[in-house]
């Protein structure tokens, strides 16, 4: 009797070796979660801060903050003495210094600012505490480098 041929699936053939794929460089997907540095409420810093990522501050800082291409948030517990340069600056705590927002500045109801605001768009919530000037000049003016307080060093002429 002829043995009934078994279906092909009963004899699984070894899978053919995968064809070597050509080396294609695939761009990595952009991560959805933005990096953000956090300075906690127990942290106290004396000195300037610069960075290339978003920044959230709940602690105290005595110095300049510069993250011109990123968002900076001064949280409710944050206390800053110094100028702040950022793309979007949000203040919920207290700042004593000038604020330079490349895109926008937001002062929340709980926020206090003693200083000047230079930003093309400014949102000050009612009940917030602000004393100083607001300059919403066009960007080319507002982004101009601020006058430095550093002394001018005159080279010695011998």
């Amino acid at each position: 009797m002829w043995k009934k041929s078994e279906p092909e699936e009963a004899h699984p053939q070894p899978a053919p070796a995968p064809m070597p794929q050509p080396q294609v460089t695939v761009p990595r997907p952009v991560p959805q979660v933005r990096e953000q540095a956090v300075i906690g409420s127990t942290i106290s810093i004396k000195g300037d801060l610069t960075g290339e990522e978003d920044l959230s501050i709940e602690g105290k800082l005595d110095g300049k903050i510069e993250c011109r291409r990123h968002s900076i948030t001064v949280g409710k517990n944050g206390r800053i003495k110094g100028d702040i340069y950022g793309k979007i600056i949000t203040v919920e705590g207290a700042v004593e210094g000038n604020l330079y927002g490349e895109e926008q500045l937001i002062l929340r109801q709980s926020g206090t600012v003693r200083g000047n605001i230079i930003a093309p768009r400014v949102a000050l919530e009612d009940g917030s505490n602000f004393k100083g000037s607001i300059d919403m000049s066009p960007k080319e003016k507002s982004s101009a480098a601020p006058v430095q307080d550093k002394p001018i060093i005159v080279p010695k002429v011998t």
Partner: protein
């Protein structure tokens, strides 16, 4: 609630027409970019409103910094003691303004104090600057400085922080004309609610 009952209650904001604001806006409409000095507190709606007249505004928020009423405090030798306007206002030394928004502040100051403030502010005013003030002409006025929200170019929302009232000094036009030296009354409007809105124009000291 009766005045002076010890418990503060905040009455509902009321919207009143403002012919003075309308006149001020008419003046600013074609005047180009203007610098504004706000003696009151920060208001997001007001900031948005004023931003169309000029990109620069200084918020002095005297209401939060001034012990009211500002009296002609006299020392023992009867010399008037000037309030520390430098500290209270915090104006930059090179600040020059085309509009000063005083709202109802002058009602809470005795005339010598008004004179002192005007004398101080003159150096920060450009010739032609407009000083916008609301003067109460009634027996009683709100116990604290009112916050004014601009609803449109001819209406103001009065936000009284308290329902308590206090006697009103009822500054008269002639007396104001004297203490507002180098300013002339460009416009004045008597409103139904007992408020007289003044636009004083700075003529310069030359």
């Amino acid at each position: 609630m009766q005045a002076g009952a010890g418990r503060k209650s905040q009455p509902e904001p009321v919207v009143h027409s403002s012919l003075g604001l309308q006149a001020l806006c008419d003046r600013l409409e074609n005047a180009g970019s203007r610098s504004i000095l706000e003696l009151g507190p920060v208001r997001s709606g007001n900031l948005e409103f004023w931003s169309r007249f000029g990109p620069s505004i200084f918020i002095a928020d005297l209401r939060s910094n001034l012990p009211l009423p500002v009296q002609a405090s006299e020392s023992e030798d009867s010399e008037f003691v000037e309030p520390e306007w430098d500290r209270l206002l915090g104006l930059p030394s090179d600040g020059r303004y085309d509009v000063v928004l005083a709202w109802d502040l002058l009602n809470y100051m005795e005339l010598p104090a008004v004179s002192s403030l005007i004398k101080y502010l003159k150096r920060f005013c450009r010739p032609g600057a407009i000083f916008f003030a609301l003067i109460f002409d009634q027996k009683l006025m709100p116990g604290e400085i009112t916050i004014y929200g601009i609803t449109d170019s001819s209406h103001l929302r009065y936000e009284c922080p308290t329902s308590e009232m206090r006697p009103c000094p009822r500054h008269q036009p002639r007396a104001l004309g004297i203490v507002m030296s180098h300013f002339r009354t460009a416009d004045s409007f008597r409103l139904r609610n007992g408020v007289v809105e003044y636009l004083f124009e700075y003529e310069g000291e030359g």
